[in-house]
Symmetry: C2
Subunit: 670 residues, 2 copies
Amino acid sequence: MSTAKVVFLPSGRRGEFPIGTPLLQAAQKLGVDIDSICGGRGLCGRCQIICAEGSFPKHGITSSLEHLNAFTATEERYNQERKPMAAGRRLSCHTYLQGDVVIDVPPDSQVHKQLVRKAAEQRDIVLNPSVTLHYVEVTEADMHDPKGDLQRLLDALEFEWQLTGLSYEFNLLANLQTALRQGQWAVTAAVYQNKQILAVWPGLRETVYGVAIDVGSTTVAAHLCDLSTGAVLGSSSLMNPQIRFGEDLMSRVSYVMMHPEGAAALTQAIHDGLNTVLGQLCQDQAIQREEILELVLVGNPIMHHIFLGINPIELGGAPFALATDESVKIKASEMGLQIHPAGRVYVLPCIAGHVGADAAGVVLAEEPQLQEEVTLLVDVGTNAEIVLGNRDQLFACSSPTGPAFEGAQISHGQRAAPGAIERVRIDPLTKQARFRVIGSELWSDQAGFAEAVAGLGVNGICGSGIIEVIAEMYLAAVISTDGVIDGRLAEQYPELIIPNGRTWSYVVYRDSAGQMITVTQNDVRQIQLAKAALYAGVRLLMDKMQVQQVERIRLAGAFGSHIDVKHAMVLGLIPDCPLDKVSSAGNAAGTGARIALLNQEARGVIETVVRQITKIETAVEPKFQEYFVEAMAFPHKTDPFPHLFAVVEKPTQSGAIVDDSSQRRRRRRV
Amino acid sequence: MSTAKVVFLPSGRRGEFPIGTPLLQAAQKLGVDIDSICGGRGLCGRCQIICAEGSFPKHGITSSLEHLNAFTATEERYNQERKPMAAGRRLSCHTYLQGDVVIDVPPDSQVHKQLVRKAAEQRDIVLNPSVTLHYVEVTEADMHDPKGDLQRLLDALEFEWQLTGLSYEFNLLANLQTALRQGQWAVTAAVYQNKQILAVWPGLRETVYGVAIDVGSTTVAAHLCDLSTGAVLGSSSLMNPQIRFGEDLMSRVSYVMMHPEGAAALTQAIHDGLNTVLGQLCQDQAIQREEILELVLVGNPIMHHIFLGINPIELGGAPFALATDESVKIKASEMGLQIHPAGRVYVLPCIAGHVGADAAGVVLAEEPQLQEEVTLLVDVGTNAEIVLGNRDQLFACSSPTGPAFEGAQISHGQRAAPGAIERVRIDPLTKQARFRVIGSELWSDQAGFAEAVAGLGVNGICGSGIIEVIAEMYLAAVISTDGVIDGRLAEQYPELIIPNGRTWSYVVYRDSAGQMITVTQNDVRQIQLAKAALYAGVRLLMDKMQVQQVERIRLAGAFGSHIDVKHAMVLGLIPDCPLDKVSSAGNAAGTGARIALLNQEARGVIETVVRQITKIETAVEPKFQEYFVEAMAFPHKTDPFPHLFAVVEKPTQSGAIVDDSSQRRRRRRV
């Protein structure tokens, strides 16, 4: 018998090869997904396999360890000098076919391994990084065959790895000759998208890193990933240092409008911030910056423009023109980002002037284009970025919610921090609020609450607390459908409903010294304006899609993770939908960045999807204003919210209250 | 009649078009080479034509001005606001076909115009720059059609100029939105090789610049060219600032060997020098650095590596491995060169470890690959770079001539500068020398010589003077065929042949104070070693090509321009050849750089030719040493030099002289 059969699992690929064929070679010929950096030299240990023993009638094979060669000296050396293989494992590059076998390729030996994602995420990520490592032995320089060292390297990469027509990053030339000689003509090349050599290192290198970064207006969050395993090794974040130029986006754009030279300062600030966070990641994981070869960035359009060095001024006024609506691929060094000098940056595309690369990240993570159900994705920030659709079509817009949902412009609003009220319930009979603050699990009416919060204080109300308290005020009939605090209740509840100029306020908490945390009429108005803007945007997209109902809602971002779905729907912040179909998508923008980092094909996917999304500009939609006005009511002036009121009791309104603070102006967009 | 015929001259392309067709459009449809930056808007004036009047029986056309529309308002405006057109000229974009015409496209309206080269050069350059300008009117940003400004620009370039799939330089994004708005949505884009947008400017821009640079070990020479006319607007040069690290190449490589960190300093020095010379060019021509969009560089392998930031140490010893033997294309900003931030650099390929991109420039300028005659190209520096061949095959090598030809290591040698002896004649009877110095036209035996050189002095002998004096010493039988100064002549000519230790020296000049300029026995030896190395290299290539005779010799570089061909051949510095077939190629390396700058196709040509050249490494050729020894004699020990001695009388040797200074060692190569 001069040939033998081999079946590789889990792929099931099979073939017949001459006796003595290395299993790695057989696998590669069959297109089996099996990893190797060292090219079959028994150095990297990536190509480990397990021989399945026994009879496999389905394949017509009786597989046996006897059908493979004995453990080789190379494998012994690997076990001793590197990391001992688990029992039963072999290096497929040094295991030779002697008879029929069934071979299992464990997940860690696969290139395109599945990475299991967290609960809030949609599906697994298939590892397919754009930077791959290739160990080669290069022919030594020889006067009898004069040739450039680069050309020798290219020949080796073509011969050993079938990588043809590679270009290279300029700085490679400066390091190549040293690396070849240090490595005694054996080097590992990092190749970008099978097209371009980014770097070479002497000898065998097994790992390079990438970082997925979400540049938020407030926080910059970065996740360091091992590009050969896909593992997130560490995360780090910092306050966006642009905050010194303005708390929110609009104030930063205003700063640039007033100080034209300020655009460069904003860009420098975020670049410095990114370098800081990259430095933290490196320090935490004890790696060098030069080991990071790729960054993937997302951010809203203004952050996107600023970190690319583009003055964001055009995004501050109509027609809100993006400099580019496509993905951007650049060298990190061109942006002054301190990773490997040839390191690359991939920036996801913005969808429209107000719908940024962060929304594209959410789409990539959530994949609405694959859903059957009509899916609503909402990412709430200073603008809410809204995507609606399913596998047939997708629509996107943004709505100027303003910063109220983040606790700004709310009299006792504050950032989510210890001591902030985050959960509220109001008794419909007593109108009394009970609440929880961040940092304690106790409700305010539970024993020990005072002691528990003694060190925290009760300092204000954070974004999710605002949603709850106003929803509860509505459910307890403290405010009307139109959002007016019912001053007539002051007679019966003078401690809770107190006058505030020409309007009334509701007292959530009063400490022993008489200091109060209240919700004013203006606070309610701010939330109404914000939620009406969001709802009107959603309604517009539903119109465009010609649907009356969304079937599934995913709330992205920190806001989405913290708010209570029911309360959000009571307010009419999101449209009616079965409550069990509304969930948090976690940090979907950041997840999208991580997917694009770990799987290069995902970049093509999001670029295509973004092109196919129908962009709606709310500012030029005649119906937006009408939808906005209708959405001011709780939960809505006309929409019935059947799913909501199937599980929540509709409050009994105590009669018409005059609304004397018509704040239905449209705010300036940012 | 609804159509009319048009013939364009000089191409002779003809067609029939509907009455009213603009001539520019007709020309473009016929593929006539006619320029336009503004895309037919009557702004740039590039598309001017002349209507030839009269009967053209060959074309069957009677052409008349009557067959064109009257002068248009646009043309009037062009004449008034821009530059009045010469009589009879029209803007072809605003001249419409009304009947049969013959149209002349003058050279200045052609894109691919022929640029007439200087006498020393081979042939004209066809203008075909890699950077072209394209004026476009871009659709304004519109909320009803949300799209990135970049995409709008790309659409316009595709629609108006059929430029598809363009990429762009990153920094474009930072400037694009401002340029579009400043230009009221009309901008001019600079496009690199029809593939990549490098820059945009508001409104119409008609010119960008490029610089061809020859980085010599001693001198950096740069030529500023207008990329739309091909004209050399100015040239500037400076001493290579690396000189502070070592006068010649070998001492700079030694410096790096002893100071590993010195490589970066050498790179920085040449970058600084290049920035200085670029600054001089800009200042002289009153242009901005940002108007320069491309640099083309040549240099010997060591200069090539150093300016690319590659440590040249590998070129300092066997096997003399180049980091790359291909052309290098990079961004100027990556090298820290201060031109437009997106400006490009093209570096010609090195041919081999000792045969540099300067030699490639010589090949590009001289085109030996197109010659029928067996052509020898010699560029003399510290190493002589030698190319031999014709349209059938090409060979290249370098030979370690050392710095003797440049006047170094010669006792009274000096750089070519005022007061240096550059021409010498020796009377065979009196053995007396007469000479000329740089800075005066008078021979030393002419009346007024003393006065003429009073301010200059007679300071030493420059490279070409050394060649002449030694050749004349041989012709006057002062030295033997073996290069020994005949001490027996001292008796008869005690003022001219003087003892110098165990050998003799020849007195070229003795001033009134008795100060002498002499040629020592060692000087003769140095020249013998240098010329023997050169000749041996040539001989080796002749062997490889299997020819006994070269048919044509071109001497490149400053050395080649100054030496007297006959004297060079008397020394046996070059092989025998009809004297009228030996000429100077001028600064052929610099010309090659200019050709590559002005004609992008020339880059492909030289890349292909360089690949096809057979590289000979003299160090591993067993016959080199034998050829070297044979070539020590004047003009050669065995080769007969029939062409030379047909016009020069062979000196009568006065008998054998013992050579007591066997300096036939091989010098260290650099």
